[in-house]
């Protein structure tokens, strides 16, 4: 099994949505469906609010919750690490839609489940996935899991669904020390 991981740098993502549009464009999805979501998470109180844009798509988990619930074995984890839904086998029961802790599976108008396919065709030809290529901030990457994390970043574990081994690393900036701040 090829061990690859999506790396999403929350310190660089400014929520421009280029990735979500690029994904929708490639997959030719209806206007109201997305395989990749970029959602603002606002917290804190004035004058110290915080803002993170959380990029979410199928993370092609090690132990996929969707596969476990599919009654017709329409979902398979392939040798390349990517989890794929076979539209021919899907019976449209929506069990996988509810099972995915990241909410990344959508129902197409024709009644079958669909999700990020990892741009399998493009990866096979040596390209990055469409979302990675689209990022003007170079906040997204897809590559070997053992690739090291940049010095100014730490892993952000502040999300649910770790248990099923999502192939994603969210990075955030190391909290600046007090003396790096201006003012009180």
């Amino acid at each position: 099994m090829i061990d690859r991981v999506f790396t999403i740098d929350l310190a660089r993502c400014t929520g421009c949505q280029a990735c979500s549009i690029a994904c929708k464009d490639r997959a030719n999805l209806p206007d109201d469906l997305d395989w990749l979501r970029v959602e603002p998470q606002e917290a804190g109180a004035y004058p110290h609010p915080t803002l993170v844009y959380r990029v979410t798509h199928c993370f092609h988990c090690a132990d996929p919750a969707c596969i476990a619930v599919c009654p017709v074995t329409a979902i398979v984890k392939h040798e390349n690490g990517l989890v794929q839904i076979d539209a021919e086998l899907c019976v449209g029961c929506e069990a996988c839609v509810g099972a995915c802790p990241f909410g990344t599976i959508v129902m197409l108008p024709q009644g079958v489940a669909a999700k990020c396919d990892g741009c399998a065709d493009e990866i096979a030809e040596g390209r990055d996935p469409a979302c990675v290529r689209a990022c003007p901030m170079r906040a997204l990457a897809y590559g070997p899991a053992e690739n090291s994390i940049p010095a100014q970043r730490v892993l952000d574990q502040d999300f649910d669904g770790h248990g099923i081994g999502p192939a994603v690393r969210y990075l955030r900036r190391q909290i600046p020390t007090r003396d790096q701040c201006v003012g009180p």
Binding site: A130, R133, P136, V182
Partner: protein, 707 residues
């Protein structure tokens, strides 16, 4: 696959007035754009990264089929603004327009025609927007033109007074050398002013630079910043004075630079120290005006005064206020005092764009110039309030959502309805097009060929092939004017007998053979990049001001400008308190650019519309005081109009300030309330002393909307 064989990949760029020009690839099948991609096989370098497009460019394929696309020539069959049209033929449309132009010339004279162009299509050299229409009218006669800039008027004035002209800013790539970056009312993550500006800032930060954001709103750019300093809109010159006071009193002024490269500091220094008015411009003084704690101002000043190189990056929003000249001038002065001028990674608060656009030809104007001008922000007054003599009776509007883009949109709509005849060229049925007597369907970027230059931060040359089959009966602006010129007897003068392809040959050879662009390469790549090593503005001037003087009287940067007094402004960049209009309308309104539109362009594209709900941003304190809760619809209103939108209650905006992104389309209901959320329904037509837009000097009240 058979499908792949019939899909062509064609490079293109946008002509939107967004602040960038990027590289896009259209996947074209059967004359339609089925996908928009980025070029493959290009690598990033640190200072020469790829020009990766934003969502707006990526939506260009979809924009062709947006709901409000104009597909055929249309004639109004209802009251102006009703949006009721009938389809007519191109021949009927062109004949009628030609008759009207003949008629107005005979009855009122050519100056009765208001020729207005806008930001719908810019930097195209030939066939789009004002390049085509200006050539037409300059051959036809002396019309009424528009003057003034909505974007950076006060910054340009400040540059002219202090630097002798619009000195180009440093290349954005120089930011990676900065140790401190201050985004002052600047929001690169949302405006995309300059390709990769946000990427360069992020790179600098990863190399250890500190990044500070000064803005009434915690923008998406705050994600790139270490600290947010909210500021009361319009008080930036007071903050600058507070910082300058600390620099002066803490001996952090770069005395060497000031003595050799700067003239006229002494009167400003006396102002800072309160030697004339008895009021030193201390951080406490600045706190009372800006709402920023004195301690924060002190720390900011100490950081700015002791960190080199430091880039002070002003956006254009702060100078879009009633005394925007003072703000733009004060920020230039601040960069001078800190000595961060002419050094890599530094920054001078100038207009910020490059002026050395690539040498490439374009359509040239004919012999006539406009007989008179109306101000671009308040043109409606010249129709409604003080009619000109002879009056404007006809408007010819090209690539401009004129009523939406100018302050006081309801007055603008009234003004157009007063006219005898209005023609609008647009790909979309904008609120302005709805006010037309005749609307002509125009090609989008993907449907027409043109040579396109960088927006201004770079100096690249782009070539757009005609990529897609025009939707419906859409034509280029150039084609329309060629047809009209033919009918009006100057067809040959307008076209010189050239096809669009022949014009492009001419554009590629601007020097008559001395500098011929590589057409084959442009065809293949869509772009020739001209960026070399990152260039630092004013480095020669800094090193040897005597040998490289600025075009000012002293040859130096001038902090005192006697000419300011001609406009009723002080000679120094002091803070001027804006008389409080907030008695009845206590909230200050800001109307920033929105990341999923370019001004009002691409408004109608469903992909983009559903990315974020258009709303009134309001702080929880202000919302609670008005009984507004999350999910409520609210009305933002003042003496000019009312806008009804959902409330976005958020800690990301300072109390006392509300925000409505500009560019949403004006859509008045029966009761006159705008449910489209056009911010300019609320903004003022007041001008700064030299004629700058003061849209950010607008007060409103917000109330819960009764269901």
């Amino acid at each position: 696959m058979a499908q792949e064989q019939t899909t062509q990949h064609i490079p293109f760029t946008c002509t939107l007035d967004c602040g960038s020009r990027c590289e896009l690839i259209a996947h074209v099948r059967d004359g339609d754009v089925v996908r928009v991609e980025t070029p493959a096989g290009r690598a990033d370098t640190v200072t020469r990264p790829r020009l990766i497009p934003c969502t707006r460019g990526r939506a260009q394929g979809r924009a062709r089929h947006a709901r409000d696309r104009v597909l055929y020539p249309q004639r109004s069959v209802g009251p102006k603004g009703s949006g009721r049209f009938e389809r007519i033929t191109w021949q009927d449309a062109l004949d009628e327009i030609a008759d009207r132009l003949r008629d107005v010339r005979a009855r009122q004279g050519t100056e009765a025609v208001l020729h207005a162009t806008g930001a719908g299509a810019i930097s195209g050299r030939g066939f789009s927007g004002s390049s085509a229409s200006s050539r037409f009218f300059s051959h036809w006669g002396s019309v009424t033109g528009t003057t003034g800039g909505m974007s950076e008027h006060c910054a340009s004035v400040a540059a002219r007074w202090m630097l002798g002209g619009r000195v180009p800013g440093s290349d954005r790539a120089t930011l990676i050398d900065s140790r401190l970056i201050i985004m002052w009312g600047m929001n690169p993550a949302e405006t995309h002013m300059g390709p990769n500006t946000d990427h360069f800032i992020a790179q600098a930060r990863d190399r250890g630079a500190r990044v500070i954001l000064i803005d009434p709103r915690y923008t998406d750019s705050a994600i790139l910043a270490d600290q947010w300093i909210p500021i009361r809109p319009g008080t930036d010159a007071a903050l600058a004075a507070g910082i300058a006071y600390v620099l002066e009193t803490e001996d952090l002024v770069d005395r060497g630079f000031v003595s050799s490269n700067v003239a006229g500091y002494e009167p400003y220094r006396r102002y800072l120290l309160g030697l004339e008015d008895g009021r030193p411009k201390t951080p406490d003084w600045a706190e009372q005006r800006t709402g920023i704690a004195a301690e924060t101002i002190t720390q900011l000043a100490l950081a700015y005064g002791s960190t080199k190189p430091a880039a002070l990056l002003p956006g254009w929003a702060p100078q879009r206020t009633l005394y925007g000249e003072q703000i733009a001038r004060a920020l230039i002065a601040l960069a001078c005092l800190s000595g961060n001028v002419g050094i890599p990674g530094g920054g001078l608060a100038s207009v910020g764009t490059r002026s050395n656009i690539v040498p490439v030809g374009g359509l040239e104007n004919g012999p006539n110039t406009p007989a008179r001008h109306v101000y671009v922000g308040s043109w409606a007054k010249a129709i409604l309030d003080k009619p000109l003599d002879p009056p404007i009776t006809m408007a010819y509007i090209v690539a401009s959502n004129l009523i939406n883009r100018s302050p006081d949109t309801r007055a603008n709509a009234r003004a157009l309805s007063e006219l005898d005849f209005v023609v609008v060229h647009d790909p979309f049925l904008t609120p302005t097009a709805r006010c037309a007597d005749i609307v002509l369907p125009i090609c989008t970027d993907l449907e027409r060929a043109d040579m396109v230059t960088s927006w201004g931060h770079d100096s690249h040359l782009f070539y757009n092939r005609q990529t897609a089959t025009p939707a419906g009966e859409a034509r280029t602006d150039y084609w329309v004017f060629a047809q009209l010129a033919e009918r009006l007897g100057f067809g040959d003068a307008y076209t010189q007998g050239k096809s669009e392809a022949a014009w492009i040959e001419t554009f590629l050879d601007p020097g008559g053979g001395s500098h011929r662009w590589d057409a084959a390469r442009l065809q293949r790549d869509g772009i020739i990049r001209q960026d070399g090593e990152p260039r630092t503005a004013l480095s020669e001037f800094r090193a040897d001001p005597a040998a490289h003087p600025l075009p000012t009287q002293s040859g130096k940067i001038e902090i005192t400008n006697a000419v300011a007094q001609d406009y009723g402004l002080p000679p120094i960049p002091s803070y001027i308190e804006i008389a409080d209009e907030g008695q009845t309308h206590p909230l200050q309104l800001i109307t920033p650019h929105y990341k999923f539109r370019s001004n009002s362009c691409l408004y109608a594209v469903p992909w983009l519309q559903r990315l974020e709900q258009h709303a009134v941003w309001i702080n929880p304190q202000d919302a609670a005081a008005r009984g507004i809760t999350s999910g409520d619809r609210v009305e933002a209103f003042n003496q000019r109009g009312t806008v009804r939108l959902p409330a976005k209650i958020t800690e990301r905006i300072m109390p006392g300030v509300v925000c409505i992104y500009q560019g949403a389309w004006y859509s008045p209901g029966e009761d006159g309330v705008d449910v489209g959320g056009c911010a300019n329904v609320l903004t003022t037509q007041r001008e700064s002393p030299t004629g700058g837009f003061a849209t950010h000097t607008t007060w409103v009240e917000v109330r819960r909307s009764e269901p």
